[in-house]
Assembly symmetry: D2
Homo-oligomer: 140 residues x 4
């Protein structure tokens, strides 16, 4: 498999965990969102370079293979699976050490403000170029 486009490291602490001492699963989605923004930042896109775009989700498919526990360190590897005209697909894989604990595919829409709401818009070629889909990547 190809190299992920970014890796986001999370120290799993008390406040992330539920009464079973396991990460409460909505936290994973908060971290996937952070991982996504940080992937763009790492590629040079944030603030003015990114503009007013946001990336609402339209589709999620997640597998939780084993729980993540209080005190563990979770590394979330994020990979661009596909660029479409105005949407893109990401894979987030969460590992503790070498063990895959969860993975999640998501489709996000490249969206800009429009008349008090948002609307999809074409993904700029400089974004595609900076985060190319790699031949060895899953889904490619």
């Amino acid at each position: 498999m190809g190299e992920p486009h970014a890796v986001y490291r999370v120290e799993v602490l008390f406040g992330d965990c539920d009464p079973a001492r396991l990460v409460f699963y909505p936290r994973f989605f908060e971290w996937f969102d952070r991982a996504t923004w940080l992937m763009f930042r790492k590629a040079g896109f944030e603030g003015d370079a990114l503009g007013t775009v946001i990336f609402p989700l339209v589709d999620i498919k997640s597998k939780f293979i084993a729980p993540v526990r209080w005190g563990e360190t979770l590394e979330i590897a994020t990979t661009v699976l596909e660029w479409r005209r105005s949407s893109f697909r990401l894979l987030h894989e969460g590992r503790v050490g070498d063990a895959l604990r969860l993975s999640s595919e998501e489709t996000r829409v490249w969206s800009v403000p429009y008349e008090g709401g948002i609307q999809p818009t074409e993904i700029p070629s400089r974004i595609r170029a900076a985060l190319p889909v790699r031949p060895g990547n899953p889904g490619a």
Copy 2:
């Protein structure tokens, strides 16, 4: 379609929303989890009647059809799709008025504490009986 097993109503407020004034999507998963626990409560299961069980997720498939906005009222209808030996499948459908805005299928494992962790256990028949899968329900 059959009647859902429970409906959870959420007033979408300021703190639920992101800079686009739309619900930040991890909040939906927090609400699905609330909806799940409240469905069991409505059926008479909470505290001692439920015991030490928790319901970790192993699989999620979600569709976000249209965003949910600050100020809207979201109704989450939760339906049991299937009872398996030690896991079950739920459907959460989120509507604003009559419009379906999102739906999410999830598989959860009926789990109890075991040696400092958790392990799956058989779902009691009184639970299945109280929340029967309905012929007209989606997935049935």
Copy 3:
């Protein structure tokens, strides 16, 4: 003591709680924020009637008298303590049954958008009139 201006009821569920099965304290602040917006809604102010105002915090003083546990029902009574020109003080009191578990005083600024940020503005008299500080209220 006078009647509070609003009461917000929270079922404390699994996802609100930490590994000690107690409410993780940032959740209380999420609920205080919900309680504040719902107090204005109850008084007739939301959406267009409220306009673009938001209420950022400048000061908080909180006492946590006893923990709130998974499965309990928390009632948060919210009282306006003082209207100033462009800020106001609230008291949130959290009870389980009759027992006071926590209380929090906060000062919020009546703020509107201004040049890409926000700025304080005078609180409209119709707001003050709808939510009068009561003689018997704490702090009055």
Copy 4:
């Protein structure tokens, strides 16, 4: 002022922010809690070295001097202000660059599990020794 005992750095991202593009204030308390656990970790205390202790809050006093915005980097400096027998006081100061944006004093109780709940216990001397209150520190 003395050196803080730990500094926790937060990239303020989309999901941390509210419709005004400012950090939604309960997030600060989530970060203060992370900062507290990470301070103990930095001093060598986590997992078995810390045992089953948790640190519930009994008192908070916070000042929000200026909002923190989407895209900013917040540094939270955490300082032990006082060790008491079974409680301790912390100061969290949040800065963006050199500008102090918020500060919060909190009192936490050193607590261990007891009969299905928790109870205060004496703070071990090795903890006090590892995180000494410094003469130049605020509050010292």
